[in-house]
């Protein structure tokens, strides 16, 4: 089957829309890295776990399905706090590897808890505007993905406001820039870090719900690919850069779909990882990260 311009444009449009979930996950990774200079590998697993909790809550209580999008992020925030306490708070600051490995352990621990609770079965996840499909000439736009995009953009704006317009954001930025100086100014760094984990957890829970809603199904299979995509977005956007993560999320979504269309599914990820290598080699600071000097 030949590929025409409309196929290319449609693939990129769909990829950009779906990329908003990658952007949210990338934001979470980059926020934690920015605040603590550490990677939380359990982040995407917490996000999916939160979405599961949201789904379970509406299933058990009979609440309207749309509330899963509120309960999920709240649950993810709580899980994020638990991950901070168990994997970061009491780990020796001098051992950079310890929290990384602990969070990898937490990733698989959370994943297995989900698997054991659900027997690994995929479960239908409620979607908003699932049956809405806008057509503009030859092009089509999924209503649910537009909902995902709009929600993600609103979440990003709220996050930016929190970071740059509130005392909490000021404290977070202060801790990320110079912990000792921040503490001398009276900022409780551990509490600020814990708050950052809760905040990013809420963001991740929203991303988990959005990803599950975009697929229409939630499964533990989502955790590892979303973790990988989140890390790629974080690196391409520039470690610690919030606008970089947002742009990179959309870009990775778009490129991923384009590679799928042109090269097929078996080669798609080769090119996505090639994109990562290109950035690491030629622009290690990513799109908008702080300049990194080579050795």
């Amino acid at each position: 089957m030949g590929i025409d311009f409309i196929d290319v444009a449609q693939a990129i449009i769909d990829g950009l829309l779906f990329g908003s979930t990658y952007a949210l996950i990338g934001l979470g990774f980059t926020l934690i890295f920015g605040a603590m200079h550490k990677l939380n590998m359990a982040y995407a697993a917490s996000a999916i776990a939160g979405a599961y909790v949201g789904l379970a809550a509406i299933a058990l209580s009979g609440l309207p399905p749309v509330l899963a999008f509120f309960l999920g992020p709240v649950a993810s925030g709580v899980i994020g706090l638990a991950v901070y306490i168990t994997c970061f708070r009491y780990m020796p600051a001098s051992n950079m590897l310890a929290p990384l490995m602990a969070s990898i352990g937490a990733l698989f621990f959370i994943d297995e808890i989900i698997i054991h609770a659900t027997a690994g079965s995929p479960l239908a996840f409620p979607a908003v505007m699932d049956d809405v499909y806008f057509e503009l000439g030859e092009y089509g736009f999924r209503g649910d993905l537009i909902f995902v995009l709009v929600t993600s953009l609103v979440a990003m704006l709220v996050l930016l406001y929190v970071l740059f317009g509130t005392r909490l954001g000021l404290a977070t930025r202060a801790v990320s820039q110079q912990v000792v100086a921040a503490e001398l100014c009276g900022i409780a760094s551990h509490r600020t870090n814990a708050t950052t984990f809760v905040l990013t957890g809420v963001l991740g829970g929203l991303a988990g719900c959005m990803a599950a809603a975009a697929v229409g199904v939630i499964s533990p299979l989502l955790t590892v690919p979303i973790t990988v995509k989140g890390l790629i977005v974080t690196v391409i956007g520039g470690l610690g850069s919030i606008p970089g993560a947002i742009i990179a999320g959309f870009a990775v979504g778009g490129f991923e779909n384009l590679f799928l269309l042109v090269f097929g599914v078996n080669q798609r990820d080769i090119y996505v990882f090639l994109l990562l290598f290109v950035f690491l080699v030629f622009r290690p600071n990513g799109l908008l990260g702080k300049a990194i000097k080579r050795d």
């Binding site: 449609q10 690994g120 079965s121 975009a214 697929v215 199904v217 779909n257 799928l260």
Partner: protein, 423 residues
């Protein structure tokens, strides 16, 4: 007045007589081992298999146990291991069970890839002293990819024969829907069963019955099993098992304008793909799925999007025995489907073989007993299945199981065609 002595006396005699006539219950139980995916994303397969296995073992014990060579009866006992869907883990469990337990036979594993690797560590030819592979009989319930049991003479399967099932399915489709002419499809390329069955079996069967590939003939595809299978994959719109975005594939399906769509994948991506097709308003005249998707998981994940999908399956609760197994599986926290239901049949086959092969079930006869069971399995010509007789393909260790065609209707799988009477 009722005299207690008069009541008790005959009862005591009856009990003593009964003890003399009926075989004594052996002290040692007969141990069988099961293994499958109890962790990882395919955990439901292991959960379902163990639920059915547990019910079958109870059924055997409730009916008096299994007769051994010396005339005593022994109860059946099972142990179940988690082999995930991982080749190394499955091999490790097989080695452990064969060398460290007194299990007489194994049932498992879940995944075809794990089974293919695991079967490779078994002795290829029975009695070959130069081959130090495991000498332990296996009767697989779930791993369904075509032709795996041939890897070793110790490995047997009671799994559906997909080439036969899809051949009959397309014969039926050609007859029932004469207006349908073209097909298009896709599969999970990282799953051996999904893409192997799709490219080597399903598309070939469609070709044999005159269906055309919607976007033009595929080079090398003749209808023979496996012909041009790489080209089939290259001409299809495929995905991976953990994919989350199916927009490009769904657009290709819709663009093909095929009458029939084939979705050959496991429940998670089957649901993802079906939901995407529905959103895109891609409306084929018929949907055909992979055997493994005729399960409760698809109904839990996307019943509405799956509406109308047709799948051949070797299990449906259409006989009293099958209904009973479905109920017992639910009571044990699982679901009976075409994979897990085979565990019930396997236990009954094992009982039959142990009783006919003169198994002694003593520590000193362990290896000889395992060999007797293997030899017994090899000589079986047919066994009783839950929905009909199962023929054994003796030189291959495989089964030819009866099957029906089910269709997703109103949130459940309904039987729409029963070819058992014409087999």
């Amino acid at each position: 007045m009722l005299n207690l002595k008069h009541v008790l006396k005959p009862a005591v005699w009856a009990a003593a007589l009964s003890a003399m006539i009926s075989p004594a219950l052996a002290e040692e139980t007969i141990l069988i081992a099961g293994w499958g995916a109890k962790s990882g994303p395919l955990r439901s397969f292991g959960v379902n298999s163990e639920a059915v296995l547990k019910a079958a073992v109870k059924e055997v014990n409730d009916s008096g146990g299994i007769m051994l060579a010396d005339g005593t009866k022994a109860n059946l006992e099972y142990i179940y291991f988690d082999s995930a869907c991982n080749a190394e883990q499955a091999i490790s469990v097989a080695r452990k069970v064969a060398s460290e337990t007194r299990a007489l036979i194994g049932i498992g594993p879940t995944c075809s890839g794990a089974a293919a690797a695991m079967f490779g560590v078994f002795q290829k030819t029975v009695g070959d002293d130069n081959d130090t592979g495991l000498q332990f009989p296996i009767l697989t319930d779930t791993a369904v990819r075509n032709g795996l049991a041939k890897i070793s003479q110790w490995t047997f399967r009671n799994t559906p024969n997909e080439p036969d099932m899809y051949d009959k399915l397309f014969a039926w489709v050609a007859k029932t829907y004469p207006d349908l002419k073209t097909i298009y499809g896709g599969t999970e390329t990282d799953q051996g069963h999904s893409n192997g069955t799709y490219s080597r079996v399903i598309v070939q069967a469609s070709k044999r019955y005159g269906f055309d590939w919607a976007t033009g003939d595929i080079e090398g595809v003749t209808g023979d099993l496996g012909s041009g299978y790489t080209e089939v994959l290259a001409n299809s719109s495929n995905w991976l098992m953990a994919d989350t975005n199916f927009s490009v594939q769904a657009r290709a399906f819709k663009k093909s304008e095929a009458d029939i769509y084939i979705i050959s994948s496991h429940p998670f991506t089957t649901c993802g793909m079906l939901k995407e097709l529905k959103r895109r308003r891609a409306e084929p005249k018929l949907l055909i799925g992979l055997t493994s998707s005729s399960s409760a998981e698809v109904m839990k994940g996307c019943a509405e999007a799956a509406e109308g999908m047709v799948i051949p399956t070797s299990f449906a609760p259409i006989t009293p025995a099958a209904e009973k197994v479905a109920m017992l599986a639910n009571e044990n926290g699982g679901d009976a489907d075409l994979h897990s239901a085979a565990a019930w049949e396997n236990v009954m086959i094992i009982k039959q073989v142990i009783e006919s092969a003169g198994v002694e079930n003593k520590p000193e006869t362990l290896m000889a007993d395992r060999r007797k069971i293997r030899d017994g399995l090899e000589t079986l010509e047919r066994t009783e299945g839950l929905i009909g007789q199962v023929q054994r393909v003796q030189d291959e260790g495989e089964a030819l199981k009866p099957y029906v065609f089910v269709q997703a209707m109103g949130g459940k799988w309904s039987v729409i065609h029963d070819p058992r009477s014409i087999q």
